[in-house]
């Protein structure tokens, strides 16, 4: 599958180094604007962002499909502009769109990919079969791709992306439009690639839970800018602790100054009859807050405690939720599917 790296200790070394990467379309629109980051060998790095944030544009530059308008990118030790072919040989790509040839079988598609990498058939034939086994497509290997379901096609793209023994695999929205089960399967493959083969993975996603559970580090990107990079925990901690929402019977009296004086409380916002309180340790802070409200002779109507999630971190950083954009997403996706159907 992979260059034999099992014996080598994972060393912390940057496999991707990006500095001020920019892509300008049509001379004025900056789809990616001065992005800088590093990916360490062996980690799963995620790009999280809404539609049009510039995720695919970044991936396309790192995989040499687009040439950067300015900035530097070194992938697997090679400059994407000067040594494009070396980059191409070392990375694997699972693109956002389906790129397999529908008139060919799954097997033929993988073998064609291998030919384009210059891998001799003596190696690519057994390897293709292994990869089809890996993504559980062995039974569909000799069926034309036009008979595949969306999930099968995604998995075929994954197998194609692995044919050249990549050190680094780029996956552009690997689970977009997949059902829960197939998504779980893709997650399983991703974890396996990291654990068993010490592969480095770069994935883009707009699913927060996906970024949270899979990625070692996440970059939140919006309007072509990276807003924040960190581990999921760091991003969650960054929003400043747990959120407690307390409802009080009488909204006339403003208790914010008093609540704010409590030691664990960091921030209080009053909104009608409700207080939105950020506190360091929610479990300890809530009883204190309740006591305080009662001591003022007021009645607590409801209380809720939310542990920080990436959702909130995202909301905090970008000022909107990703969920709002879900509808849009599906419009795009169904358009893509229609286009694919129009072919056959």
């Amino acid at each position: 599958m992979m260059p034999n790296q099992r014996d080598t200790k994972p060393v912390s070394k940057a496999i991707v180094e990006v500095e001020g990467l920019t892509k300008t379309y049509d001379g004025k629109f900056k789809a990616v604007d001065g992005v800088s980051f590093q990916i360490e060998e062996g980690e799963i790095f995620g790009f999280l962002g809404p539609n049009g944030a510039g995720k695919s544009t970044t991936i396309n530059m790192l995989t040499t499909l687009l040439s950067p308008s300015s900035g530097q990118a070194v992938v697997c030790g090679f400059d994407v502009h000067k040594h494009a072919n070396d980059v191409r040989r070392n990375v694997g790509i699972v693109p956002q769109e389906y790129t397999a040839d529908e008139d060919m079988t799954g097997m033929a598609n993988i073998l064609l990919c291998a030919d384009l990498y210059g891998i001799p058939r003596s190696d690519s034939k057994p390897h293709a079969m292994e990869l089809l086994n890996l993504v559980e497509l062995q039974d569909a290997a000799n069926r034309k791709v036009k008979t595949y379901s969306g999930g099968m096609r995604r998995r075929l793209e994954l197998a194609c992306g692995l044919i050249n023994y990549p050190k680094l695999l780029f996956m552009d929205e690997p689970t977009l439009g997949l059902d829960v089960q197939t998504r779980a399967a893709v997650w399983k493959y991703i974890r396996m690639l990291k654990q068993e083969y010490h592969m480095t993975l770069f994935l883009t996603t707009h699913y927060l839970e996906e970024a949270d559970s899979l990625c070692d580090r996440i970059a939140i990107i919006d309007h072509g800018h990276i807003i924040k990079i960190g581990t999921p925990t760091e991003l969650k901690d960054g929003i400043g602790g747990d959120v407690i929402v307390v409802g009080v019977a009488d909204g006339e009296v403003d208790l914010s100054p008093d609540i704010g004086k409590l030691e664990l409380v960091k921030e209080v916002k009053k909104n009608g009859n409700e207080y939105r309180i950020k506190a360091e340790s929610g479990e300890e802070a809530s009883p204190q807050i309740m006591d305080l409200i009662r001591s003022k002779g007021l009645h607590v109507t409801k209380i809720s405690l939310t542990k920080p999630s990436l959702d909130e971190a995202y909301l905090e950083l970008t000022g909107r939720t990703l969920r709002e954009e879900e509808t849009n997403r599906w419009a795009t996706m169904s358009q893509r599917i229609t286009m694919a159907r129009a072919r056959s």
Binding site: L66, E97, D115, L116, G118, I119, D123, L134, Q138, M192
Partner: protein, 314 residues
């Protein structure tokens, strides 16, 4: 790490993880990367074969492409045969033959037109080679190819090559049909056939390079159709494919002289129909036909390969 010190909880967790991975996805033993073929031609044949396979597994495409030349052979070659004007003129057969030979270079207009139709089918096949680039871009396959180290030139040349192979086979079929319908075979020879098809192949190569290059940046098949219409019919009608140059107005004769298609047809006619008894001035010297067509093919293919470096990455 000393395994006895691993906490029990960690041990059990490891085992559960292994159990949940089904046996079928048990990761294969890592194999090392084989030695890669890094020649600039690697992948060329694989890409060519991909297109050819699509073509020969779809017999309708082949049949449809044969309709146009066969219909034209019927309409222009049989129903509206030019030669009949001369044969109905009342002149003696010897004089008639002389007029036919000095107009068409052969005693049969149908044979004259047949060679033109060989060129016509090659022209049309070449024109649509650009279309397959547009569709590859549209359906993502081109991006897949571009993300591999296959040389950009090989992508272009594979398109040209597949079109060349297809047009040769289709031209062979048109020739067969023409012979069945009465084309003069008295001057056929192995060398003549090889020479004629070499010329036609080079012409197809040159023209598909042209159309593929024009399609490199496009993902829009309507534009591509417009380009095909814009170039195709003038290339055909402003050539010696359908009518002899002699009967054309002078300005058109100049256009025909600059149209490379005319040189391929000129050479192919001499090689297939013979030159016995044909007055001088009807045909170009063969060496000229070969030189022009070879230069045309080399130049346009070179342009295509060079442009591919520029146009295929954005």
């Amino acid at each position: 790490m000393d395994s006895s010190k691993v906490p029990e909880e960690k041990l059990t967790r490891t085992t559960t993880v292994q159990e949940t991975v089904p046996e079928s996805v048990e990761p294969p033993v890592p194999r090392s990367m084989p030695k890669l073929n890094k020649s600039p031609l690697h992948g060329l044949w694989a890409l060519t074969l991909r297109d050819l396979r699509k073509w020969y597994t779809n017999p309708y495409q082949l049949l449809i492409s044969l309709i146009q030349p066969v219909v034209w052979l019927g309409i222009f070659g049989k129903a509206l045969n030019f030669g009949t004007f001369i044969s109905q003129s009342g002149a003696s057969p010897a004089v008639q033959n002389q007029i036919l030979l000095s107009t068409f270079g052969t005693k049969s207009y149908f044979s004259f037109l047949s060679v033109g139709m060989l060129a016509s089918i090659i022209l049309f096949t070449a024109a649509f080679s650009g279309m397959s680039v547009v569709f590859d871009r549209r359906f993502g396959f081109l991006n897949k190819a571009l993300s591999t180290p296959v040389s950009r030139g090989a992508i272009v040349v594979s398109k040209v090559l597949q079109s060349g192979v297809r047009s040769l086979i289709q031209a062979g079929m048109v020739l067969l049909i023409a012979v069945v319908l009465g084309m003069d075979v008295s001057n056929f020879s192995v060398i003549g056939l090889l020479g004629a098809f070499t010329l036609l192949f080079f012409m197809g190569f040159a023209l598909s390079s042209l159309f593929v290059t024009l399609a490199l940046r496009s993902s829009d098949w309507q534009t591509q159709m417009a380009i095909i219409n814009l170039l195709n019919l003038p290339l055909l009608f402003a050539s010696n494919a359908l009518f002899p140059v002699k009967i054309m107005p002078t300005w058109l004769q100049y256009v025909v002289k600059f149209n490379p298609v005319s040189y391929a047809i000129d050479g192919a006619r001499q090689l297939l129909l013979g030159t016995a008894g044909v007055p001088s001035g009807i045909y170009n010297p063969l060496w000229l036909d070969f030189t022009v067509i070879t230069a045309f093919a080399v130049a346009l293919t070179a342009v295509g390969v060079v442009m591919s470096w520029k146009l295929l990455t954005k």
